[in-house]
């Protein structure tokens, strides 16, 4: 079971990022989450969602989803684009098990863009 993304359902609200950041820090920020809203190509309205696990990145691009082993990320240029704290150096998703709750990113998404599979 892992968090997956339906990128075309995403509206870019970043509630997933914010909830994930809260899971790790019990505070609100956009630099701690294991899930990252890619929004660096604003003029093209191109956005997607990236989830980091211990083993790979689930990359939810609008044109299709991809699972990429961590060692392959640099070759593919899929590190999340401009970010003050690249996703590769963030905590891996623990499915919120450390807090004993369901994955908060999935629970909080208003448009059903995240799901478990």
């Amino acid at each position: 079971m892992r968090v997956k993304v339906k990128p075309l359902s995403c509206t870019g609200c970043a509630l997933c990022e914010t909830a994930c950041g809260f899971h790790w820090d019990e505070a609100f920020s956009l630099i701690s989450s294991s899930i990252l809203l890619y929004r660096a190509e604003e003029k093209k309205n191109y956005m997607g969602v990236i989830v980091k696990t211990d083993e790979d990145l689930f990359i939810g691009r609008p044109e299709g989803a991809q699972e990429l082993k961590l060692g392959e990320v640099h070759k593919q240029g899929a590190g999340g684009g401009a970010s003050a704290k690249p996703i590769l150096i963030r905590e891996a998703c623990d499915m919120c098990e450390s807090a004993g709750v369901e994955p908060q990113c999935v629970a909080i998404c208003p448009h059903g863009a995240l799901y478990l599979e």
Binding site: T11, G12, T18, A27, F28, K44, N45, A84, A107
Partner: protein
């Protein structure tokens, strides 16, 4: 005690080119009130410097629904009175996380500058090379210079630099709800832009109680897309249907379940979803009033969107600009750009709706007339104090008292409608 704010009050003196910081004391939150209420206190305190005050609400930048809202506050050159304009999209949340709780910008710079706020550091940067640039060029240049594409750029365009009555600051490329001419205030100050990047962290007084309270509110919130609900509520034409042949995707402001912002593509097929196409495929429409004015005036949808882009690029109020353009539909892109440059600001802001209200005082028609005037004013006041989009408050039907209940676990502050009314007395 934690206050859900991060950092000091920044005071920028453009006359001298110096900045200073003042502690954002809990006393100010309790006495003046959070968000816009603190902003108004700072506006009065620094009135001799004809300040522009930027800030955010108590809940901005959290998981509270629609907690996207920051504000810009200054004396409107349109009305001569204090007026507020929204920092929506991601600008409000980046403001909240920038490392400054509030920002007071006084005086006038001798040369064009922009203010770069990040990690609690404020830099006044020479913007001579940006003079005369439009808002798209300015946003691109600042992001390129800083090597960071998530920077939020609040800029003034050629309209603001020339003191046009239509001047309106733009948030990145997409215009804003500044119907009060605060873009001209920036131009008068030789302040080309304020660039924000928020890497801070907001601590709540009772974090788990606050967080679970926001989840309860979100779980009962409608999640809609586009302007359909707005148009229905103001008894206006369904602008979504008119825009549909160009719609690419809908976008939310930060933390908002209602993705009303509508991205339209007219320089490439609207169905293109990858990023390999043209660099500037279209426009993010962030409010329904401007396209409604053009549709009612007989414009075709594609040239209407090009007109909105031209207004955003010039740094003009899209609502008043569209209203002025409405009566003379155009098709040719060059003619549209020329017509936009020739606008004189002869129309008032407002909605092409039968139930429109009068817009006097602090708040402009960025928020649609989704209720009677008293309720509309109350939603604006609560929204700008809390940092919650007032349009979301009115559209969602959320019980505002439940938002007030979040203030205690957020910052140990008790708020209710009566207390909010006192702040604006």
């Amino acid at each position: 005690m934690d206050t859900m704010y991060y950092g000091d009050i920044l005071v920028v003196d453009l006359d001298s080119g110096k900045t200073g910081q003042v502690e954002f004391e809990r006393q100010m939150l309790e006495q003046s009130g959070p968000g816009l209420a603190s902003g108004m206190a700072l506006l009065r305190e620094h009135v001799e410097g004809e300040p522009l005050v930027l800030g955010s609400g108590l809940l901005t930048g959290t998981t509270a629904p629609a907690s996207c809202l920051g504000f810009a506050l200054g004396a409107s050159p349109v009305t001569g009175e204090p007026a507020v304009a929204p920092l929506s999209q991601y600008a409000g949340s980046e403001m909240k996380l920038s490392g400054f709780s509030m920002v007071v910008i006084k005086g006038k710079s001798a040369k064009p500058v922009y203010l770069w706020l990040h990690d609690g550091v404020a830099d006044i940067v020479d913007a001579s090379k940006l003079a005369g640039k439009d808002t798209w060029e300015t946003t691109d240049a600042i992001r390129s210079d800083m090597g960071e594409h998530l920077i939020q750029v609040i800029s003034t365009g050629p309209a603001g630099e020339s003191g046009s009555r239509l001047a309106s600051f733009s948030i990145n490329y997409w215009g804003s709800g500044d119907t009060a001419g605060l873009g001209a205030v920036m131009g008068e100050k030789n302040l080309k832009a304020v660039a924000l990047r928020g890497l801070g962290m907001l601590d709540a007084e009772e974090p788990l109680e606050f967080y679970h309270g926001t989840l309860e509110l979100l779980s009962g919130s409608p999640a809609e897309k586009g302007f359909k609900a707005t148009c229905a509520a103001v008894k206006a034409y369904d602008i979504d249907g008119w825009l549909k042949p160009l719609v690419h995707r809908y976008r939310s402001c930060f933390a908002c379940p209602h993705a009303c912002n509508t991205f339209v593509k007219y320089n490439e097929d609207h169905g293109v979803i990858d990023s390999t196409g043209v660099e500037e495929p279209g426009l993010l429409i962030t409010g329904a009033a401007a396209p409604l004015w053009l549709q009612r005036g007989g414009w075709e949808v594609e040239p209407a969107c090009r007109a909105l882009e031209a207004l955003c690029r010039e740094g003009m109020d899209v609502v008043r600009g569209a209203r002025e353009l409405a009566g003379t539909p155009l098709n040719d892109a060059a003619e549209i750009r020329a017509a936009v440059k020739g606008l004189g600001g002869t129309e008032d802001a407002g909605w092409p709706a039968d139930n429109d209200i009068s817009y006097t005082g602090l708040f402009g028609p960025w928020v649609p007339p989704l209720s009677e005037e008293d309720g509309w004013v109350e939603a604006n006041r609560a929204g700008y104090v809390l940092g919650i989009c007032p349009a979301y408050i009115l559209l969602s039907g959320i019980d505002v008292s439940r938002l007030f209940e979040l203030c205690s676990p957020a910052a140990g502050i008790e708020l209710d409608a009566g207390r909010i009314a006192e702040m604006f007395a």
